[in-house]
Amino acid sequence: MTEQQKQNLNETESLDQKTRQPLSRRSFLKIGAGTAVSLTAFGWALSPLANLTEDISLNEFLQQHYERLTPEMMAEIIARLEDEIKHDYGIDPSIQDIKPLNGVEYAYALNIGRCIGCRRCVYACMQENNTSRSPEIQYIRVLELEKGTLDLEKSSHYYNHKAVPQKDKYYMPVQCQQCEKAPCTKACPVRATWKEPDGIVVVDYNWCIGCRYCMAACPYWARRFNFTKPVIPKEEITTEMAYLGNRIRPRGVVEKCTFCLGRTRQGLYPACLEVCPTGSRVFGNVLDPDSPINYILNEKRVYVLKEEAGTVPRFYYFFDK
């Protein structure tokens, strides 16, 4: 046996024996001290959890996907959500799960020739949809463009003039295009976002895991994320709320324009259309041959944004006086 082999053997014996010997009194003391130090350090590391701003109840934690909810479960969930909103925001909300109407498919058209870029739609939308005011979440982005270009990179998002419209500028509001072949619904790993039979793309805010893959997938930058719990002054809250629509969102989930489904599925116009002072916005049921939207689609020269993306939007643009 060489020296090296002997040394190896010794090392082997010692290691092997060390892990086989019964624990000594000394090692018990060591383990005790080690455990105490580790628990303290671990407790310190987790200490910020004491400031948890959002309390998650067991029922909320176990809530199922929208498709799996029975009417009874939905009633319970709505009661719980109403309670939570009342507690957190000090108002008395009424939440309804408003279903799509039979024989209805929505489409939207926007007259770029008339839009003056006043952003009234942007603020009416925030008001109706209970989006966070701090940080501010807006579903509609109005782009100010130079005449002669459709290059979005040359657009101004944050124009701030004393009066609009500015000479030689035109304005293009962009919101969710409710694509027929929506890339966002394909991206979602948990089917928390899907297209309803009436063409509206919705989000189940209680199923979304907040991975934001849908935001990366959207070619129209139409989706927003709640980085914090939404902050909305009590007096600005719209109390009529739709489960898949304008109810106040929890923190950490994605939201988007739903064509104001709480209003439109009950026969009203979307808030952005109603407020528009120029009549640039046209909305309706494409399956109804007499609807104004059908008139526009048939009679005007309409186009869609980023047609090359192949997503088949339900949102059309046209130029008219």
């Binding site: 090392e11 082997t12 290691l15 092997d16 892990t19 086989r20 350090a41 671990f42 590391a45 987790l46 200490s47 910020p48 959890l49 004491a50 400031n51 948890l52 701003t53 998650i56 934690f61 996907h65 498709e67 799996r68 940080p135 782009l143 290059d151 979005l152 990179e153 657009s155 998002h157 962009v174 394909k186 991206a187 979602c188 790993p189 948990v190 089917r191 928390a192 199923w207 895991i209 907040g210 991975c211 934001r212 990366a216 997938a217 959207c218 070619p219 129209y220 930058w221 994320f225 709640n226 980085f227 914090t228 719990k229 929890p250 923190r251 950490g252 980023k306 993306a309 192949g310 997503t311």
Partner: protein, 406 residues
């Protein structure tokens, strides 16, 4: 038999806490960094992703950048497995398990980086097949969950089985590991391809919506992964006296050299396509390399990455230099850092900029976000060091099963 296994586990736990002073210092250092990361994550968990630098415009940041890079490290274990098991390379046989342990640590880091990126980590169970609602096979992210978890299970099984058999001093049964090794080879390629497809499938993001992304991911992974192994194996050799031959390191050197050149070639292809055609779709690349409309936060980083990758390839291409360990290590470190920048932040952030509506909002990670990243890296290293600490004595026959003195 079960008793033997329990004894093995118990002894392993005890062995985990036995070592020299250097071992204790190293593990304590990593534990402290991990806890600092956990502390930062607790803050984020309590207050939300508002503590990060991410915005609606740049909705993924340094978490997903690190995730993408580390998937590559995990996949790179295959570059040891193929020569060792398929071509029966003797030199690599001693280190292949170490490479697979690295893959295990890397996959766990990936899962952590994805978890810290979630806005609702409390809803992780929605992602689980059966109990949740799994958008499979439509969503590429659901594929990613499957391939990452599958790869983790495969490697845990292969390493666990082979190490335990060695501990028992028995020959492993081919049937129990060879089929899994073969599956793991294809699986390794798949984890990185699927991760690339996460980006490639997005029609609204021209910078990512390019077929070259997947091959580039593989090329850069097979540079950074084996590069890390070259350095790690020398450290293991020095501190544990485990026998890793110079020949094994030289095989890895050749892999790194070829992969780095392939990676730079593919980068060149991309740069040509973007800038020669000079279409509207070039904006993201222009932002990355030169800045756009006065915003150029990433430009110095990407040029730094390219310069150090070129230096690394020059060293690797001169055999006189590359055969000297000092230069080889330098080249590996440079290539590793260069690729971390290039396919981490240099790949993720420009994909978002300009936004589909033409806006440019720069992204800077916050301090808290950075601490979470440091914590996960430290935890990954801790995990790898711990596995090495157990595996090396088993592999070198210093920690084994016996019942009676013979």
């Amino acid at each position: 038999m079960i008793r033997d296994y329990l004894v093995f586990l118990w002894r392993s736990v005890r062995l985990s806490f036995m070592g020299g002073t250097k071992f204790y210092i190293w593990m304590a250092f990593l534990t402290i960094l991990s806890l600092l990361g956990l502390h930062a994550y607790s803050k984020q968990f309590a207050e939300g992703l508002v503590l990060t630098g991410m915005t609606d415009q740049v909705s993924w940041g340094v978490y997903i950048a690190n995730f993408t890079f580390i998937v590559g490290l995990a996949a790179a274990a295959v570059m040891l497995v193929i020569p060792a098991y398929i071509y029966n390379n003797k030199h690599l046989h001693d280190v292949v398990i170490l490479g697979e342990l690295l893959a295990i640590a890397a996959i766990i880091m990936c899962l952590l980086f994805v978890t810290v990126d979630l806005g609702r980590p409390d809803r992780f169970w929605h992602l689980m097949p059966v109990v949740g609602v799994f958008n499979f096979p439509i969503s590429m992210l659901s594929w990613d969950v499957i391939v990452l978890l599958g790869y983790l299970i495969l490697n845990v099984h292969i390493c666990g089985y082979l190490l335990y058999k060695r501990y028992l001093n028995q020959e492993p049964t081919m049937l129990f590991y060879v089929p899994f090794v073969l599956i793991a080879i294809f699986w390794a390629i798949s984890i990185h391809t699927v991760t690339a497809f996460l980006y490639v499938g997005l029609v609204g993001r021209p910078f990512w919506n390019a077929a070259i992304v997947a091959p580039r991911f593989i090329g850069s992974a097979f540079t950074a992964g084996p590069g890390l192994m070259i350095v790690a194996f020398q450290l293991i050799r020095r501190y544990t006296k485990y026998n890793i031959t110079d020949e094994a390191l030289q095989i890895l050197r050749q892999i790194v050299t070829i992969s780095l050149l392939v990676n730079l070639f593919l980068l060149g292809c991309e740069v040509f396509k973007e800038f020669y055609s000079d279409s509207g779709h070039t904006s993201s690349a222009r932002y990355l390399f030169f800045g756009l409309h006065g915003h150029d936060a990433l430009a110095p980083w990407i040029w730094f990455a390219i310069v150090i990758e070129v230096i690394a390839s020059i060293i690797l291409l001169i055999p006189y230099l590359a055969r000297q360990m000092w230069f080889l290590n330098l080249a590996c470190v440079l290539a590793f850092v260069g690729i971390w920048i290039e396919k981490g932040m240099g790949m993720v952030v420009p994909g978002f900029l300009p936004t589909p509506l033409g806006e440019i909002v720069e992204y800077f990670p916050t301090g808290n976000e950075t601490w979470i990243c440091i914590g996960i890296w430290a935890f990954g290293l801790l995990l790898f060091s711990w596995m090495i600490h157990l595996a090396v004595p088993i592999l070198s026959g210093k920690f084994y099963h016996y019942t009676k003195k013979t």
